[in-house]
């Protein structure tokens, strides 16, 4: 960890920032207005009204630390252009100054990500660390979600990295504090709560002073939570806050099905309905707007398959986590912790209630730390990052960003393939490029032994992505014109869900065998 590494990190950061600046005029989603409105809420209203304000449909529904963060940004926003923080006149205000300001805050917030990367990289060898920087900073998922679509995920992953780095180095108290803070920023990260709890209980709270240690940890975490929620508790806003944070009115699947088991389940239900009707003449009382329901509206009850309630979903999430929880209970070793956290995020994504496709970043970004360490993980990472990025494609539906997202994905896959194949000395082709081998004898010994980065199954699957994309872009409009616009989306979702399931099973195997 010398000056040279810092220089290298800053160099990459500089290049990434230039790229982000060029993306300023790109499409931004309604999330842009959401965050602008939150600036206005936190700036114009007293704290006790933050979570009860309804002056716009974009009500504040992130935990208090994030609200404080918005309050902090609002100070600069009011200097930059007072209309940004105007509760009424600022609504749908999207002129150049707001775009510049908000995009700028995302780039500036990413500094936390770079800090986190620096910390987590300190435990790796020099080459792996540098590849890790590259892999995370240029992650197309982060670029698409944060710098085009518009969200603040980068700095949250920075905090996660800080926490993971502390845990890996054995500093459980600090790791726990960072994690508590992270959850107070965005409660979606709470999905890793169980593994943190079990691990800390077994790894930190042991030995002769285990009760004391438990108390220290508990008081640290509680004071963080109190810092976040205390002011709202004082104003009697807790019930309202909780209602905002956990809106159970929402359905199992988001408007665009996240590629998880529920996408497969829903597809199974739809097909079963059709099969029943066609084969057996059983007409099932389909709920209104059955097929499009999952995409346009919110929650549609299933016609054939049993209904899924939040409890079922929660049980499945916890159930699928059990292997790693049991392992953490039995043998709490710091080395395996990052893998367990990534695995719990995977479970949350696969079985969670109302999961967004963006949540796949939660498993991809931390997984990159594992990917630079072991060939098996590098292979899984290459596969996962392509699937996850591809599943984010529907977020950017305008044609002007289309070439950018495709190039981002291909370029990223190419660059990490180059880096990983260099790092692990793998060959590109399993069959072997005889000419290339003959050309340079020195390469021979490396090429023979190791497994390729992309195996036949993965290769075939990734090729399939291309087929799906070409169908959605060319053949579908050609055959059906403008009708059934949801079919390509559904195909994308279901196909990616297959890939995600494959990845999840692979990770389950890894967790069980480690």
């Amino acid at each position: 960890m010398g000056a040279a590494d810092l220089q290298y990190l800053l160099w990459l950061v500089g290049i990434a920032t230039c790229v982000k600046v060029l993306l300023v005029p790109a499409y931004h989603s309604t999330d842009f207005e959401v965050h602008r409105h939150w600036l206005a809420i936190t700036h114009s209203l007293p704290l006790k009204e933050w979570y009860s304000d309804e002056s716009s449909q974009w009500t504040l529904d992130y935990p208090p630390f994030f609200a404080f963060f918005e309050r902090f940004l609002a100070i600069f926003a009011s200097w930059f252009d007072p209309q940004i923080v105007d509760l009424v006149n600022g609504q749908n205000y999207a002129v150049r100054s707001v775009v510049l300001f908000q995009r700028g805050t995302v780039m500036a917030a990413d500094l936390v990500l770079y800090w986190g990367l620096w910390e987590i990289g300190s435990g790796l060898s020099r080459m792996r660390r540098r590849i890790l920087y590259l892999v995370v900073i240029f992650s197309p998922g982060l670029l698409i979600v944060d710098h085009i679509h518009f969200q603040y995920n980068g700095f949250l992953f920075g905090i996660l990295f800080l926490s993971l780095a502390a845990m890996r180095d054995g500093n459980d108290l600090l790791g726990g504090i960072y994690f508590a803070a992270l959850v107070c920023f965005k409660h979606l990260f709470a999905i890793a709560g169980p593994i943190y709890f079990v691990y800390i209980l077994r790894h930190y709270c042991k030995g002769p002073q285990k009760i004391a240690r438990f108390c220290i940890m508990a008081s640290a975490v509680i004071s963080i939570v109190a810092l976040a929620f205390g002011p709202f508790l004082y104003h009697g806003q807790m019930p309202q806050l909780m209602k905002r944070l956990f809106p159970f009115g929402r359905g199992l699947c988001h408007a665009y099905w996240a590629p998880n088991v529920w996408a497969l389940y829903s597809t199974g239900d739809k097909s079963a309905t059709v099969v029943m009707r066609k084969l057996f003449g059983v007409y099932i009382d389909r709920p209104k707007a059955g097929l499009t329901g999952g995409l346009v509206g919110d929650f549609t009850p299933y016609a054939v398959f049993p209904q899924i309630t939040p409890i079922v979903s929660a049980i499945l999430v916890i159930g699928s986590m059990m292997p790693c929880l049991v392992q953490a209970w039995r043998k709490p070793v710091p080395n395996a912790f990052i893998r367990w956290v990534v695995y719990t995020f995977t479970c949350g994504f696969m079985f969670g209630w109302h999961v967004h496709e963006k949540a796949s970043l939660h498993m991809v970004i931390p997984f990159s730390v594992l990917a630079v360490e072991r060939l098996e993980d590098a292979r899984a990472f290459l596969f996962l990052s392509v699937v996850s990025t591809y599943s984010l494609f529907p977020l950017l539906f305008e044609s002007k960003e289309y070439p950018i997202k495709v190039t981002l994905l291909l370029l990223y896959a190419l660059v990490i393939w180059l880096n990983f194949s260099q790092l692990f000395g793998t060959s590109t082709k399993d069959s072997g490029d005889l000419k290339a081998k003959a050309a340079s004898n020195t390469e021979l010994n490396v090429q023979e032994t190791v497994k390729p980065l992309i195996g036949p199954v993965e290769g075939a699957y990734l090729g399939g992505i291309m087929v799906i994309e070409i169908y959605g872009q060319c053949f579908h409009p050609l055959f059906f014109g403008g009708s059934f616009p949801f079919v390509p989306l559904m195909l994308t979702s279901v196909y990616c869900a297959l890939g995600m399931t494959y990845y999840w099973l692979d990770q389950l195997h890894m967790v069980l065998s480690s």
């Binding site: 500089g14 230039c18 005029p25 590849i131 002007k400 070439p403 190039t407 590109t428 290339a436």
Partner: protein, 529 residues
């Protein structure tokens, strides 16, 4: 001679391998560009091209020249209008004032290849979005879809012409360089900010004419002189500005012919290639003397004055001291400009006729295009792209030149880019260029270690120059100029850039004479070391 050059290069490479490169790898065995196998190398070139493409795509999101500025708009509208005219009117009328083709509204003023290119692009857009190129009714047509299509006409031209030319040049001229050097040279050519800003931001098709010129240069350095003639003629037929390179091509090819056993036969062969290419390009307009002259007349806009807006050339750069435009009439100025241009280009021509060499040729390209940029008539600020191309082609040989020329070339276009609302990408690409210069690499610029380059390396000089540029930027963006001189800061920027260019021009001329012919310079640089 060629064998000499190759040997010298091989020898140099071998030496470099043993000293700097291996040493560097030993020092930091941890990280290098990840490419050891031939396939990884190919893919690495692909990655560089991919990144260059990504930057261009992101530039396409930005505004273009004259966006939403009725009634005349800007270069975007000019290109769109040419597509409209070429698609809907017969070839004979393209350069003629007719009821459907009002030459006062962005009349076609580039040679026929541009017209054909507009026709092809116009056909494509006509098939996809007819309203965008509809005759007469489409003036000022701007919407998201047509912008996307128009942007793609430039992107595809870049991919089809400039990228292959850059790859060909690197693989031919830097054949004997190590992989990392080649990769760096390629990225300097493809990631040069000025070209990206003008083509994909401002909106023009310089990638075609410059790509053809780069292809011609690749053919010259690899001794495929007939191919070079064809490619260069095509470049000239796409944009007449490529004539900036004419002295270099002429002198170098003449010099090569003189060295042969039968010089006349060589010259005739090349002449036939040039004439054939020109005849094919001009075929539809050669039916009569009149129609050919009409096209020619469109290409030489003498009524438009000595220079346009703010150009960092001699006439504009010194206009604060001498009011050229007021002192002389247009015909006198035109003659003055011609004389000055020829005088400035002469030294490098003489050098190439006497001792033609690959490296000397590229320097001559730089010098002659600089001469034209400084002194010729009707120069645009965008014409700085012409001296930039040979400077990027020489990236490995003349890194000092590149480091100084590229930033100031970009700065010299700041007034134009500010008008186009491209300030943000201007800073982003400029920063990116400086970062790329700092790219972690395992090779040293060995060749650059001579007396002359030491001047460029002096930190005090660089810091002063950069500080001056920073102050100019601050003034330009934050200070209101006095009302009497509302374009004072533009003039400052112009003069400041011109001063830098002039030094670089003198340096490049010295360099060209300092390097007498192929193969000898290695030993001379060795002595200095």
């Amino acid at each position: 001679m060629l064998e000499f050059a190759k040997e010298a290069r091989i020898w140099r490479m071998a030496e470099e391998d043993e000293t700097t490169v291996r040493h560097a790898y030993k020092e930091s065995p941890s990280w290098s560009w990840p490419a050891t196998t031939s396939m990884q190398r190919k893919f690495s070139f692909g990655a560089i091209c991919g990144f260059a493409l990504l930057l261009r795509m992101m530039l396409s999101l930005q505004p273009y020249s004259g966006a939403g500025v009725a009634p005349k708009y800007g270069d975007y509208e000019a290109q769109r209008h040419w597509m409209e005219i070429t698609v809907h009117t017969p070839v004979k009328e393209w350069y003629v004032n007719t009821t459907n083709n009002d030459l006062r509204y962005w009349g076609l003023d580039y040679p026929p290849l541009t017209a054909y290119q507009s026709w092809i692009h116009g056909r494509i857009i006509h098939a996809l979005e007819p309203a965008a190129v509809a005759l007469n009714t489409s003036r000022g047509h701007e919407d998201a879809r047509s912008k996307f299509l128009m942007r793609w006409t430039v992107l595809s031209s870049d991919i089809l012409v400039f990228f292959p030319a850059a790859l060909a040049f690197v693989s031919l001229y830097y054949k004997l360089a190590i992989f990392e050097e080649q990769a760096w040279a390629l990225s300097m050519i493809l990631l040069q900010p000025a070209l990206i800003l003008i083509d994909h931001g401002h909106f023009q098709f310089n990638c075609i004419s410059l790509g053809l010129a780069a292809g011609a240069a690749a053919a010259v350095v690899s001794r495929h002189e007939l191919v070079a003639c064809v490619l260069y003629s095509l470049s000239l037929n796409h944009k007449q500005m490529s004539a900036y390179y004419a002295p270099a091509f002429f002198a170098h090819l003449l010099g090569r012919c003189i060295q042969r056993r039968s010089p006349v036969f060589g010259v005739v062969k090349l002449g036939i290639m040039v004439l054939t290419t020109f005849t094919i390009c001009w075929w539809p307009f050669l039916s009569s003397r009149h129609s050919a002259l009409q096209v020619l007349n469109r290409l030489a806009p003498f009524e438009r004055g000595l220079y346009e807006d703010y150009v960092a050339n001699f006439w504009c750069g010194t206009s604060m001291l001498i009011k050229w435009k007021q002192l002389f009439s247009v015909p006198v100025l035109a003659r003055l400009a011609l004389g000055a241009t020829i005088t400035a280009a002469l030294p490098s021509m003489v050098q190439q006729i006497r001792a033609p060499s690959a490296r000397g040729f590229l320097l001559a390209m730089l010098n002659s295009s600089f001469a034209f940029y400084f002194f010729s008539f009707q120069v645009h600020e965008k014409s700085v792209l012409l001296p930039l191309l040979p400077a990027t082609l020489l990236a490995l040989e003349e890194p000092g030149l590149l480091q100084w020329l590229v930033p100031y070339a970009v700065v010299s276009m700041l007034p134009l880019l500010r008008r186009d609302d491209l300030v943000l990408p201007y800073f982003a690409l400029l920063a990116l260029f400086f970062l790329l210069l700092k790219c972690p690499r395992h090779f040293e610029y060995k060749i650059a270690e001579d007396k002359l380059i030491k001047i460029f390396r002096a930190p005090i000089l660089r810091n002063c120059s950069l500080a001056g540029a920073a102050i100019l930027h601050l003034l330009y963006f934050y200070v209101q100029p006095p009302p009497r001189y509302s374009f004072l800061f533009e003039a400052f920027i112009t003069s400041y850039c011109f001063a830098h260019f002039l030094v670089l021009f003198i340096y490049a001329n010295c360099k060209q004479w300092y390097v007498p012919g192929d193969g000898q310079w290695v030993s001379s640089s060795k002595k200095i070391n």
